[in-house]
Subunit: 218 residues, 2 copies
């Protein structure tokens, strides 16, 4: 018989709970989502998550303690990145479960994405087929660095800040499908609003690269 079964079990579950703890803080989740876009400095992470660098540093410490992120110093900056795609995967699955189970979250999401979406198919395969044929323009409105790290197939990059000045690059006859970091990132929604106001046909894609990656393998 296994000796001290209770003590061993407690140790095991405690270890798993270390991962859970990391996912139990809103700000840490936001940092994880940001890191899903690619490596970033503490400064960038803090700015994007609207927190102080100190606080970002403290949260990142937790992430590193659970071995979910790793760091690399380059010059004055320290870059953080996820150690493995598996981490992004767990983030996507966690927020997906949250969306499916928590009515409150569903309502919040509905509020921000109130625009009807009838000009673009919901399923990924046909959307990609259309993108391949050039029937729609897939537009990545994240900062350039994030686009360069990874982006959806056939996507073009115009960061949200530059969009207003670069409208001429986009066609008026075909739908423009904008995406950003994921369902909790509002940049794509702003982009669609701007594009529609300017007379473009435009729709919003709620998923980001991490969500597509999960969908791809399953």
């Amino acid at each position: 018989m296994v000796k001290d079964a209770r003590k061993i079990k407690d140790l095991l579950y405690e270890q798993v709970a270390r991962i859970g703890k990391v996912f139990s803080s809103p700000k840490r989740l936001e940092l994880i989502e940001l890191l899903c876009q690619g490596e970033m400095t503490v400064e960038t992470l803090a700015r994007e998550a609207s927190i102080s660098m100190k606080l970002a540093s403290a949260h990142l410490r937790e992430l590193r303690g659970a071995h979910l992120v790793e760091t690399e110093r380059r010059g004055k900056n320290i870059f953080y990145r996820l150690v493995d795609k598996e981490v992004a995967d767990l983030w996507v699955r966690t927020h997906t479960l949250a969306e499916n189970r928590l009515i409150e979250l569903q309502m919040e999401l509905q509020k921000i994405a109130a625009q009807p979406n009838d000009l673009v198919p919901n399923d990924r395969e046909t959307l990609m087929k259309m993108a391949r044929r050039g029937e729609v323009v897939v537009l990545d409105v994240r900062p350039t660095e994030e686009y360069l790290e990874t982006h959806l197939p056939f996507a073009r990059s115009i960061p949200i800040d530059e969009l207003r000045q670069r409208l001429a690059e986009l066609p008026k006859d075909r739908p423009i499908v904008a995406y950003c970091r994921g369902p909790y990132c509002l940049m794509a929604i702003d982009a669609v609003e701007l594009l529609r106001k300017e007379g473009f046909k435009s729709a919003h894609l709620r998923d980001g690269v991490a969500e597509w990656e999960v969908a791809r393998i399953r």
Copy 2:
């Protein structure tokens, strides 16, 4: 432009963090793993997790608050069950990530499963093929109710408590592969130890039904 972007985002991540919080307590994780085996009363859950009924009730309250479990009263008892397979899925993926990332957890797991496993293939397909042909006996050592709820294909049920008295039901010429609730449940390990002592060929399968289910869909 989306108004109060920061406020909205904070709300969204906070909702997801509610799910994370549930997964941040060792005892709650243990309860989730138990519920992966099927529905159970508070009493059973408390006993199996070695905690008081009061504490179990409090933790289950959290689980219900996050809409991960639902309850049903039948007579004097209240039965808890997972609302959806997706919850079991997230538990499996979380503990898998923990096992891959936390060396401490790997070491703990190695300590308890120190027996070499050379008489049974590691991959699921060939194991199932052998089970189908009757070349191995797959043995479910969980309580009968859990076996009845779901079990691995071709598995036979002998609860660990009855194993010693029912050894005669098992063949000595073929390997007996025992499994239980998952990698953190020690019943299968005890079973293998007993079987080997009694002259059976026996090996331990670390995964339970939830882990197989995840592997099935990939």
